[in-house]
Symmetry: C3
Subunit: 350 residues, 3 copies
Amino acid sequence: MRNSQPSPLTLGEIVSRLGGELVGDPALQVRQVATLETAAPDTIAFFANERYLAQLRSTQAGAVIVGLPLRGTLDIAHIAAANPYAYFARVSALFNPPDTRAEGRHPAAVIDPRARIGAGVHFGPNAVIEADADVGDGCSIGAGSYVGPGAVIGAQGIIYPNVSIYRGCVIGRRVIIHSGAVIGADGFGIAMDDGRWLKVPQIGVVRIGDDVEIGANTTIDRGAIDDTVIEDGVKLDNQIQVGHNVRIGAHTAIAACVGIAGSSRIGRYCRIGGASGIAGHLSIADNVEISAHTLITKSITEAGTYTGAYPFESNRDWRRNAASLRSLAELASRVRVLEHELQLRKKGKT
Amino acid sequence: MRNSQPSPLTLGEIVSRLGGELVGDPALQVRQVATLETAAPDTIAFFANERYLAQLRSTQAGAVIVGLPLRGTLDIAHIAAANPYAYFARVSALFNPPDTRAEGRHPAAVIDPRARIGAGVHFGPNAVIEADADVGDGCSIGAGSYVGPGAVIGAQGIIYPNVSIYRGCVIGRRVIIHSGAVIGADGFGIAMDDGRWLKVPQIGVVRIGDDVEIGANTTIDRGAIDDTVIEDGVKLDNQIQVGHNVRIGAHTAIAACVGIAGSSRIGRYCRIGGASGIAGHLSIADNVEISAHTLITKSITEAGTYTGAYPFESNRDWRRNAASLRSLAELASRVRVLEHELQLRKKGKT
Amino acid sequence: MRNSQPSPLTLGEIVSRLGGELVGDPALQVRQVATLETAAPDTIAFFANERYLAQLRSTQAGAVIVGLPLRGTLDIAHIAAANPYAYFARVSALFNPPDTRAEGRHPAAVIDPRARIGAGVHFGPNAVIEADADVGDGCSIGAGSYVGPGAVIGAQGIIYPNVSIYRGCVIGRRVIIHSGAVIGADGFGIAMDDGRWLKVPQIGVVRIGDDVEIGANTTIDRGAIDDTVIEDGVKLDNQIQVGHNVRIGAHTAIAACVGIAGSSRIGRYCRIGGASGIAGHLSIADNVEISAHTLITKSITEAGTYTGAYPFESNRDWRRNAASLRSLAELASRVRVLEHELQLRKKGKT
């Protein structure tokens, strides 16, 4: 079920709102976005990945959004844009505005009278807002979500159901947090002492900038002493773990299941692939791209793409190669010996 | 604490209900299942893994379930079955039926009057059912779980506490969802535009077939445009991440901590080992087995087992071999040079 | 926001409570702990990692905690201790005692009258305690947390919001469980039978010892037949998955995102790095250290450090080396051939 049936727009209306070059009938109406593969004639699709060229040729869409080089090359109506995927995102937003929930406090929400609540806030059933928390104008706090004492949520935030935000964490404006995320749990600070682990109090908080999105079941730990910081515009997918005192630079995007160990600093505009890891106390430069399943064990000072995943094979091939990997250093020595022997022979001959 | 003390059954009663070949006294009573290692004389154990042969020899169990080849080879009572582990599962289900909760709506459940609620549904305290949701006959919705607007849960579903199901997701019959799972959060759809990420509306839903089980804290994202689909009989362990527009074929089983990136299609009857990953936009054939900690980066068209984990070693050995790995391509060139030189010499001699 | 402004202590008071050797003015007051980098003159920092030596030289802290070898070598006030990090943990605990919540049952908590509740327990709003559960003296049960039928929580436990504890699980004293953790969901027990997966009832529970801490969104499955056991003093970080029937030995510490497959036994005082995995049915000795991103596929019988992460490189280098890795076994054969040929030639010459 989608929000509701969107109203149709003509292609002419779309380009008048969003720009782009229209090739085709400006009066043609579309009602929704679609994929090339499953599009109906009253929808608009997009083409931004060469992989789907055959689908572009056979699509039933009424119109397609394409890059500038394809302008005029298609038989069907199309809008050419410099960045077709971003253009598509804007078209989709026209047809699919965010949920607009009626302002209001469900009677089963539990809001401490000492909390500060902005104008037009929606509270779902069983949302809990503790003392001295501050929830900004226009926020939506989902069912069963918990906002701890003194926590701050900036204006227009969307907190989905069953999110937990610990004491004192500070969240910027227009932040979206998905279900199951935990913001501000204690970092993993333990000191071995005479055969037992002592807990190190975690007295920092989590500070999250504006326009950040945090995926389902992602966890961001509070700082041990200073704070954990997520700068503006960062996008975190699901099931990411951010350790205490990490700083993630603005507009960095991190795919699902990544783990970032304590005190590491990630630059701005980085892209980190799924299930990668960053060891603790490292520094990663701006504009670094890290491939999926890669463990970063040293600081990275130059922009670029870094990779460290084992290439998969049939199990039979893997068994043979992985066995050889265990004696790789020895193999390298044997090659040195061979080179040396051949060198001696050459000299002997000359 | 187990549910309650199960009533005893005789071995004769068991084989009359479930089949299998009994060797031993049909009047012997057992009260519960057990492991070979910790079994008491009033329990029945099973043997399905050669690793535990010594335990089979020394078990105190009253009876044992074994494969057909062991029929008649044991001193103690035993039931031989073609598939002893499946037989064991059935025996255990006789002694341990699912929790039967009294039908009823806890007064602290919050159920929108526009929701459709089937017969005999149990709602735990603080369960939240939004408008237009549809909860089928005989479902159990745990404490604090959230069923979003228009979401559908088929008959006999068991939703454990603190599950979040977003707007419009459709779940089949007899589905079990464990605590902390999140169904239908937004997929990770972002488009870079002039230095900022634009959010791509995620307008599809999640469609889950019949007889699916979803583990604790697993997340399944809603589709970007079309839907994310989990077919009948799929079994997902804990902390799995399923990206938007993924399709998982019927009866595939996935171990914990696996991540599946967007738009990939997994076949039927696949088995995916723990903490593996599937990159985006791939297609995996039916009956593929993927080993633990393996990253699949290309489509797989043939059934078989695929592996890509780095073989672990002592840290000392790993340091030496991993260092050599960084110059492996160069080592291969040096071997080609050696081969070439030796070839020249051979020719020189001839 | 921190709990509240801590009262200052003099260095003399600190060493009189905690020991250590003070070099400097015992009347000097400090109010809080700090990092070397951001310390103000009314704070005390610590130095336990050579990496931060430059920060030690330039810190503005009023005093510093250092190891014994540095005693008397600094210009500023310092306390020398055999274990400076543990000493720091104790100093921080002086300034930052755990939250002390007023005893009391929030009116929106839902507590079954058949539950046993100790003295001085705090229940947050919407906490749910089922029949026959037993919550010990001085526990704090967070908002929206669920304690299933018959579950036991020992004295002084801190259960943060939105935790789920299933039926019958038994938790020791002074255990801390962070938000989103799920204790006692069903293990992944399925038996293939004639093209469908049969569910194997999971009838064991989870047993957790004293002084355990469990991170946010960590999942610990109940046993299939016998129980899953976490011994005293174990520290688990966030997003860890512990399979059914695992046993984790006392005082073992496990970093975030680790997965432990069913029936494995981890020794005492082990340290397991982030995102590592332990395959099923293995046994790991005491005092084993496992590096991050390592998959353990065989039992480990000797203490030591074990590693198996692929070393990361620039993507260009990785492509070349990873390609060679796929023919490593063949490369090793070619080296053997070369060695053999050269040996023949040597013999020929002699």
